[in-house]
């Protein structure tokens, strides 16, 4: 049996999945002031009376780090930034303890200016005295040569709980993003560690020594130990859970738009022939642009519980949620109340919904039903507009070869998969408004938790080789080796695959999960004077997001509509 648990903005969902069916599901309200309680209640309920040895894994997707960033509850962190010429690095300042120091590496990875050890020692003793426990060290072009980041770490010495180096976080270029990524990893580290140590301990106490996996923003999983090294990867994993839950139902030869309509927000993503589209650079959160690998998702503050109000005679929906729908005792009318008024969903106290919508309808000068209809159409229109913008953005992504320009693949989803609380009611409206084939993900209420449970490991490795300098580096893997003149693209791909396999297994993947593919393989002849002096090779390989092989074939039947014990 396996367990998936997804903490959402409104509810925390958990499922227990057996060999061929969902055995149990549970839904508890998310308590943002005590997330541990929400997670623990979910786990406790779902594992009650289950023999511990029969559970082979639990995958958790939480909002812990996401919320810490949004609410700015970040731990004190010292940032050391090594820039060299270019944009003034002061402009990338992340926090108070942010120091730009000497040292510089150029685009080929050559050291241009050495670091100043005295400067680092001074910082280290000052920060130790101030009690800073987390440190981020980031150099420009450190992914081409991590030498200076490593030297700085060495000089920093003991006395810090967590030191993160920029080149380990991503093989991609982007100095400002590398700074932000290091800062977020370091500043969420203590809260992440405390939280999951507590989860681990509590499970142990219950005698449940289950392997714990954490869901990442890219829709993949990693084991708990790996998440302790790079907790930043857990930021914004919520949308990924839903996308993975929708995956089994997407067409194998088409492009799919996934809409997850929650209480507070709606998340959207795109699948290309059942593979989620990844963001080309990394997540953005609370003004931080990062290199954290992630699915391409977009979230808008519009959901079943969004507050409805009139502003200057115009109907406004969200972006805030003031509480549950009025039918469930909330203070303001919501789209869910509109669905109740129209009889498209049932539940709660429908009189409260009518009362709530009546005052809106009166001000709009329409009947209650007309007002409800208008509200729901407006919600759907806004969601579709946003989805269209996202797809336009995806299609306008620049490409850098003649071949790609002429090919010019345009993403044009032909089907929509809807999940989340009010999915069926909205699906019907989307179908009426568009020419798309719109389907509801079966078990739409807990598809997110199922997605988390079934997600397999994902990884990426970047190899950069410069045969003129005679080096090949894989910055994230702490790997560097000298290469001969005849080292080429094939050699680099092989090297990258070897490193990727090791990384996957280290992150807790089974051999079966390691399905590797090449994302990028570029080789340039380096010509100086009129002679070829070397090769500049860039290779990026990955294990793409998907479902764990054991469940891939039967994933669809898992969702079959048999009755599932649990509080739906």
């Amino acid at each position: 049996m396996i367990i998936g648990l997804d903490v959402g903005g409104t509810n925390t969902d958990a499922v227990l999945i057996g060999k061929d069916r969902i055995l149990r599901q549970t839904k508890v309200p998310t308590d943002h002031s005590n997330l541990f309680e929400s997670v623990w209640t979910g786990l406790d309920e779902i594992t009650r009376d289950v023999p511990p040895e029969s559970i082979s894994r639990v995958v958790l997707s939480t909002t812990l780090t996401t919320n810490a960033i949004i609410e700015k509850k970040l731990a004190g962190t010292g940032m050391i930034v090594c820039s060299g010429p270019g944009i003034d690095p002061e402009l990338f300042r992340t926090n108070d303890h942010y120091s730009c120091v000497s040292g510089s590496i150029d685009h080929r990875g050559r050291e241009i200016q050495p670091i100043d050890p005295g400067e680092i020692r001074t910082l280290a003793s000052r920060w130790r005295a101030e009690g800073l426990k987390q440190v981020g060290i980031v150099g420009k072009f450190s992914v081409r040569n991590p030498k200076q980041e490593l030297e700085i770490k060495e000089i920093m010495g003991e006395g810090f709980d967590y030191i993160v180096l920029g080149h380990r976080l991503s093989g991609n270029l982007g100095f400002p993003r590398r700074i932000a990524t290091a800062y977020l990893n370091a500043s969420v580290h203590p809260i992440h560690r405390r939280f999951f140590d507590a989860v681990r301990d509590s499970l142990d106490k219950k005698g449940l020594q289950i392997p714990i996996y954490i869901l990442k923003a890219d829709g993949g999983t990693m084991n708990l130990e790996s998440s302790m090294n790079y907790p930043g990867q857990t930021i914004l994993s919520g949308p990924a859970a839903s996308v993975m839950g929708a995956l089994p139902f997407a067409s194998e030869n088409e492009e799919t738009l996934v809409l997850d309509i929650g209480g507070t927000s709606t998340d959207m993503a795109v699948l290309i022939r059942r593979t989620p589209l990844l963001d080309p650079v990394g997540i953005e959160i609370s003004g931080h642009k990062t290199l954290i690998r992630s699915l391409k998702t977009l979230s808008i503050g519009l959901g079943g519980d969004s507050a409805l109000r009139l502003v200057d005679g115009e109907l406004r929906i969200g972006p805030d949620r003031q509480g549950p729908p009025m039918a469930y005792g909330g203070p303001a009318p919501t789209p869910t109340d509109a669905l109740i008024v129209l009889g498209e969903v049932s539940g709660g106290d429908d009189r409260a919904s009518f009362t709530g919508l009546k005052s809106l309808a009166d001000q709009l000068g329409t009947s209650i039903e007309q007002a409800a209809d208008r509200i729901l159409n407006q919600v759907c229109r806004k969601i579709l507009e946003t989805a269209t913008q996202m797809i336009t953005g995806i299609n306008s992504k620049p490409v850098y070869t003649v071949h790609e320009v002429l090919e010019d693949h345009q993403v044009k989803p032909q089907e929509v998969l809807v999940l989340g609380g009010p999915a069926p009611a909205f699906a019907a409206r989307f179908a009426a408004m568009t020419g798309f084939q719109v389907r509801v993900v079966p078990q739409w209420r807990v598809a997110n938790a199922i997605g988390a449970a079934l997600a397999k490991n994902t990884c990426e490795v970047t190899v950069f080789a410069d045969t003129e300098r005679g080096v090949a580096v894989a910055p994230e893997e702490d790997f560097s080796q000298s290469v001969r003149r005849d080292f080429d693209k094939q050699g680099a791909v092989k090297l990258a695959f070897d490193l990727l396999r090791k990384k996957c297994i280290k992150q807790g993947a089974s051999e079966l999960e390691v399905e590797m593919e090449v994302l990028e393989d570029l080789q340039f002849n380096m010509v100086r004077g009129f002679y070829t002096t070397g090769r500049n090779i860039r290779v990026k390989v990955q294990v793409k997001p998907g479902l764990i092989p054991e469940y891939r074939e039967i994933a669809k039947t898992l969702f079959d509509d048999h009755s599932i014990p649990g509080t739906a």
Partner: protein, 441 residues
């Protein structure tokens, strides 16, 4: 949060799968390190910098500018259409006011491509700036355009295309042609009889540094631009004046290019040459982008930048001061000279030999221009190559008077097709390009 002063568009097209030949300066690797630097600096994340996909230029776009023989498709590759399309995309975004300024960081370049194209010259097949400008003139209210070419090589292609156009000011700053390809661009090349003054050449001595470039910018280029009052300023932003460039001899720097861009304030910059792909391009391009956007570029410097080591000689400074005086005097008299030509000439002929160094073609051209009192005059070109090809081409300019339009058609109609391998008419007022049906010779 970094914010630009001017919203700036960027088309970045490094053509990673296109080269003239494996070890040619114009090869796949050329913009590799520039891309690394631009990505690593995070410029594409800056609020106010937007990256666009290049458009694909069309055959019609080329036909507004060039006479291609045997035809457009056979003198270009797809990469040229993307490069020209990249410039065009930036032009459109500027005209639509979605951006204030833009930079087409594209390859292959174009400023050595002349009006008649038999092949590639100086790594250029079609003139990407001219293709953009003529597209904009057709689709937007753009009339007067200034092109400031800061490539180290004389922009002889652009000069040729606009030689007879008084509404296009072409200013080229370059290493003196007596010391560098293509050899032209002397200070006394000032434009055709009806467009005297709208071509300005500023040939600088080898080893000219920041001081000299910024001096002619302040004393020649900016004053002439102020007089000319263009609707649009285009910078042919070649970067081979850099002190590390392997095929030129100048001493300009990333700081210098950024400062020049900042003072020139072009609406559109288009990359031309520049072959110091590691030591110059990454820094110069970052400097230009930041200067266009109005960001602080004071820390953008090459790792080996020591301005005192590359400073120009006192002799060069004196020479440049004298040249400046001559150029400004010429500029002030140009209207007078134009009027004199109009009063004294009916037709003007020009004969030239043109060498296509990249494709090894020798062309000889005879031009005949009607020196019209009412417009810039209809132009006929007779072109022969050493490959035994002869073409006859008639260009009716954008603002041609009725008489010149009629004469253009007369020339085209009376041109005996059997005598030529190609007979072409470029009718700019009607935006038409006509190829005469040929009988076998």
């Amino acid at each position: 949060m970094i914010q630009t002063k001017a919203k700036t568009g960027l088309v970045f097209f490094p053509a990673f799968d296109w080269a003239i030949s494996a070890t040619h300066p114009e090869r796949e690797e050329r913009l590799l390190y520039t891309q690394d630097q631009v990505f690593e600096e995070g410029l594409l994340d800056v609020e106010g910098i937007v990256e666009y996909k290049p458009d694909l230029a069309t055959v019609e776009d080329i036909q507004r500018v060039h006479f291609c023989f045997p035809d457009e498709r056979r003198v270009i590759t797809e990469s040229h259409l993307i490069s020209a399309g990249g410039a065009k995309k930036i032009g459109i975004e500027v005209m639509e006011k979605r951006i204030e300024r833009g930079f087409a960081l594209v390859r292959p370049p174009g400023h050595h491509a002349m009006r008649v194209v038999h092949g590639a010259r100086g790594f250029c097949n079609i003139n990407i700036e001219a293709i953009m400008i003529e597209y904009l003139r057709n689709h937007y209210a753009v009339d007067r355009v200034a092109i400031v070419d800061t490539d180290c090589h004389h922009g002889d292609g652009t000069q040729d295309i606009y030689w007879h156009d008084p509404d296009t000011l072409f200013i080229s700053v370059h290493q003196d042609g007596r010391t560098l390809y293509p050899g032209s661009g002397s200070y006394d090349e000032m434009g055709g009889p009806t467009a005297v003054g709208s071509t300005v050449n500023i040939p600088l001595p080898p080893r000219t540094s920041e001081e000299g470039f910024l001096y002619v910018l302040d004393k020649v280029i900016l004053p002439i631009l102020a007089d000319f009052k263009p609707d649009l300023i285009v910078n042919s932003a070649g970067q081979d004046n850099h002190y590390t460039d392997p095929i030129t001899n100048m001493c300009f720097s990333a700081q210098g290019y950024a400062e020049l861009t900042s003072r020139l304030r072009p609406h559109i910059a288009v990359l031309e040459g520049g072959y110091s792909i590691e030591g110059a391009l990454p820094y110069v391009n970052v400097g230009i982008i930041m200067a266009l956007a109005g960001m602080d570029y004071s820390k953008v410097k090459e790792p080996d930048y020591h301005p005192e080591k590359t400073r120009q000689s006192i002799d060069s400074t004196r020479y440049i001061e004298k040249l400046t005086a001559v150029l400004m005097e010429t500029w002030e008299k140009s209207a007078e000279v134009r009027d004199k030509h109009r009063a004294s000439l009916r037709f003007a002929k020009r004969e030239r030999n043109i060498f296509y160094d990249t494709d090894q073609i020798y062309e000889s051209q005879r031009e005949n221009l009607r020196v019209c009192p009412d417009c810039s005059g209809v132009l006929a070109i007779h072109s022969d190559t050493d490959r035994g090809k002869q073409i006859h081409a008639v260009h009716i300019p954008r603002k041609a008077c009725k008489a010149c339009q009629e004469l253009g058609y007369e020339w085209f109609d009376s041109s005996r097709a059997r005598q030529y391998d190609g007979v072409f008419l470029q009718d700019r007022p009607r935006d038409q390009y006509v190829v005469k049906e040929l009988n076998n010779k």
